[in-house]
């Protein structure tokens, strides 16, 4: 967060936004960045401040390598293309297939010749016989619809939790258990995540979005113990962690992040690391419900995440912060690269030690498994007067959890969902958007308290 802002660097992950399309990509000088059918020349993006908007110029040729040029403003063609005439209403508008004189072939031809989006859309408008007969608003809508297809502006953004979570949700809500970004936000406040705190997060099946979100809020101050099922966190999870948490420069010294596998919760609880502290991990019964590794299909551009990002970690912050995260290969990489790195085994031990004091500041569950037993078990690691929260794509398991936690004496139990509606705001055309998400998952929250009556506070 320097005053002049960080520049777009070689080898780091960024979110590329093109209209309503988002993509997580690792930018490398030698490579191109694929955006749909077009590819962008990465060299032209590097060195500009993060957040810069670029206009893509068609390079022509077969490869269609787009050349980015930084611009101050993007252009809304609906403003630029204004017809001289427009109708008062649509009474004379006829629905037929003859109103557009341009053919697909001619448009493709224009594209290959390197025409800009504006030129193409202008040509399409000029060749529409019905355009003049549309109302002013309808014309703008028409142009915007066409513009979407020939949109030529992109922006390169820091991969923050806001963008990463929205991107995953947009690609496929089920990939992250329908965890919409507003639900994620509620989880973080329901758990009152604050820097310096110690949080126990059980996550499986959300591409580590919740882990990354808690890490972002800790900002290098505090601790996070990540419980997960299986031997190593999924590569996609590790990647989300890396992407969001370590690519930032805000990670301050003295922060530590420990993760451990759930050594079948039993072992973890007794503080006994099973066989060598994390090498092999017992999976819970009937688990096996492992999320497909999103790494490849979600983010084709970020292959080999471990080596490069680990290097980044060592280079900029690890020496001070000893910030560590794991996955078998990452740990190996780190061992080779830094004497400061903790091994996976040490990581597990640290996490188990932390848990054994049973005074975590927050408990967050977001998992594919039925949460009731996990929650009942993990509650013991939470300090009193601290919040816990459970996310579930279904309401019913949370109702069971509600009664289980009531039986444990917890207070302020609440089962909620949030309802999110986006609006189109345009002069005289403001209304809710036509489509909205039907649901973003359910949340149970509550506080753990001590019910052994305190003798010291008896009043008169």
């Amino acid at each position: 967060m320097r005053e002049d802002g960080p520049a777009i660097c070689d080898g780091k992950n960024y979110i590329i936004i093109k209209g309503s399309f988002m993509k997580l990509a690792k930018l490398k000088t030698q490579k191109q960045c694929q955006l749909g059918r077009a590819s962008v020349d990465v060299a032209g993006l590097l060195g500009h401040p993060v957040g810069t908007q670029f206009r893509l110029h068609s390079g022509g040729g077969k490869q269609r390598l787009m050349r980015p040029e930084p611009v101050e403003h993007t252009e809304d063609l609906a403003d630029a293309i204004a017809a001289d005439e427009s109708a008062a209403d649509n009474r004379n508008l006829l629905a037929n297939q003859t109103s557009q004189a341009m053919t697909k072939e001619r448009i493709m031809e224009m594209r290959e010749q390197g025409a800009t989006g504006k030129e193409i859309v202008t040509t399409i408008v000029d060749n529409s016989t019905s355009f003049q007969g549309k109302t002013e608003f309808s014309q703008a809508k028409y142009v915007r619809k066409k513009q979407k297809k020939y949109f030529e502006f992109i922006s390169v953004q820091e991969p923050t939790v806001r963008l990463v979570a929205s991107m995953y949700y947009m690609q496929d809500p089920l990939k992250i258990m329908n965890l919409r970004v507003d639900s994620l936000s509620q989880l973080l406040t329901a758990c009152s995540v604050r820097p310096g705190g110690r949080y126990l997060v059980l996550e499986s099946g959300c591409l580590a979005v919740t882990v990354a979100a808690v890490l972002e809020r800790l900002g290098g101050h505090g601790h996070l113990v990540h419980l997960f099922q299986g031997g190593t966190p999924q590569s996609a999870e590790a990647q989300a962690d890396e992407t969001v948490a370590t690519d930032r420069e805000t990670v301050a010294p003295n922060g530590e992040t420990a993760q451990t596998a759930a050594e079948s919760p039993k072992a973890a609880a007794d503080g006994i690391p099973s066989s060598g502290g994390g090498g092999d991990v017992t999976t819970t019964d009937g688990g096996g419900d492992v999320v497909p590794d999103g790494g490849d299909d979600v983010t084709p551009a970020t292959e080999e995440p471990t080596a490069a990002t680990a290097e980044e970690t060592e280079g900029t912050e690890a020496q001070e912060s000893r910030k560590r995260r794991l996955s078998g290969s990452q740990t190996e990489t780190s061992e080779r690269k830094s004497k400061y790195a903790r091994t996976r085994c040490e990581d597990s031990e640290l996490a188990l030690n932390m848990l054994s004091s049973k005074d975590m500041d927050g408990l967050l569950l977001c998992c594919r498994q039925h949460p009731v037993n996990l929650l009942r078990y993990l509650l013991r690691f939470l300090a009193v007067s601290r919040p816990f929260t459970v996310f579930c794509p279904y309401k019913e398991p949370l109702l069971e959890c509600y009664f289980a936690m009531k039986a444990e004496g917890c207070i302020m139990l609440k089962v909620t969902e949030t309802w999110l509606r986006n609006y189109q705001v345009l002069p005289e055309r403001t209304h809710p958007e036509i489509n909205m998400s039907g649901g973003g998952g359910y949340i149970l929250s509550g506080f753990k308290v001590d019910r052994s009556l305190n003798r010291a506070a008896v009043t008169d």
């Binding site: 401040p49 406040t189 972002e216 930032r248 007067s385 302020m412 705001v425 403001t430 010291a456």
Partner: protein, 315 residues
């Protein structure tokens, strides 16, 4: 002093959240004496539906434990910004946690962020921002109401977060933030947010940042969006978020099977129609969550936007 970080035991001067039941939660400051209506100092006794509490007796108690009162007991909870939002003294309308949560995420706040907020109001959002940006960030908060601004500043320092915040009495719409290129994010909750947009732009860092405007009325949103577009903000998004709470119930429903003949009535030759018109099976227990009969249906529209970095002539 208890907002700064978690601690285990109540100390003098702490703010304690006294939980009696879900509808009865209070924030109390632990002092030996308080001023009464006549301005005299009297022992600090807090009256509740479960009887009186000598507030100084809370000192030394473990947070999260039970407090005995004359006619029942309560829990002494550690304050969090979310509990504060439920219990704070209202000097204005306030933002509630569902909206606050979205604001924190969408403004990308994290430790180290520098934030400008106008107006301060009752400090509900301010406390949540402070929790999120401490210990390395800073909040500049403004209110055009002198007393509100002063009371908020007093609260911040009483809560131990005074170092992370500057509360000023200032009319942002007319005079601006008096800050140049320092902020990562700006939050506007003003009657005329569109007038503050150019000042917000000035307050944001040259490397760009995020802005949020909260308005209850769509007319304000309309004008704010126009203003944001005019001043070069991108990624405009206006949304509304409501929290639906479910009452969790175990309910028993009787079950009938109309396809089976009644079990009694016709057997003893009685001419009157049977009371049991159909076969009744064992009642079924249903575990369910039902929506509240009334819920907040509107709080405000949240408009978010991004200010891209300022282009330097070199590039």
């Amino acid at each position: 002093m208890s907002f700064k970080e978690y601690k285990t035991h109540v100390e003098m001067g702490d703010t304690v959240i006294l939980y009696l039941n879900i509808k009865n939660i209070h924030a109390i400051t632990v002092t030996e004496e308080v001023k009464n209506k006549k301005g005299n100092m009297v022992p600090n006794i807090f009256q509740t539906v479960y009887g009186a509490l000598k507030v100084k007796d809370l000192v030394g108690m473990k947070y999260g434990s039970q407090v005995q009162m004359t006619r029942g007991w309560a829990f002494a909870l550690h304050p969090t910004p979310e509990l504060w939002t439920l219990t704070l003294p209202h000097r204005t309308q306030i933002l509630y946690t569902p909206d606050i949560s979205i604001v924190l995420t969408q403004l990308e706040l994290r430790p180290g962020s520098v934030v400008c907020e106008a107006g301060t109001g009752s400090g509900s959002l301010s406390h949540a921002i402070l929790r999120t940006i401490a210990p390395t960030g800073h909040l500049h908060t403004f209110d055009f109401h002198e007393q509100r601004s002063r009371l908020a500043a007093e609260e911040f320092s009483a809560h131990g977060v005074g170092d992370y915040v500057t509360a000023r009495h200032r009319d942002v719409c007319g005079e601006g933030f008096d800050l140049d290129s320092v902020a990562d994010a700006v939050f506007l909750d003003l009657p005329r947010p569109y007038d503050a947009v150019p000042f917000a732009k000035q307050a944001l860092k040259k490397s760009g940042g995020r802005i949020c405007s909260f308005s209850p009325c769509i007319e304000q949103v309309q004008k704010t969006c126009d203003s944001l577009r005019k001043h070069g903000f991108t990624e405009l998004q206006t949304l509304e978020c409501l929290q639906r709470e479910f009452q969790v119930r175990k309910s028993v429903m009787s079950v009938f099977d109309l396809s089976q003949p009644p079990t009694d009535g016709s057997a003893d030759g009685d001419e009157r129609p049977s009371k049991k018109a159909a076969m009744e099976e064992r009642p079924r227990e249903v575990l369910t969550g039902i929506p509240l009969t009334t819920m907040p249906g509107h709080t405000g529209f949240l408009t978010f936007a991004t200010l891209p970095p300022v282009m330097t002539s070199a590039t």
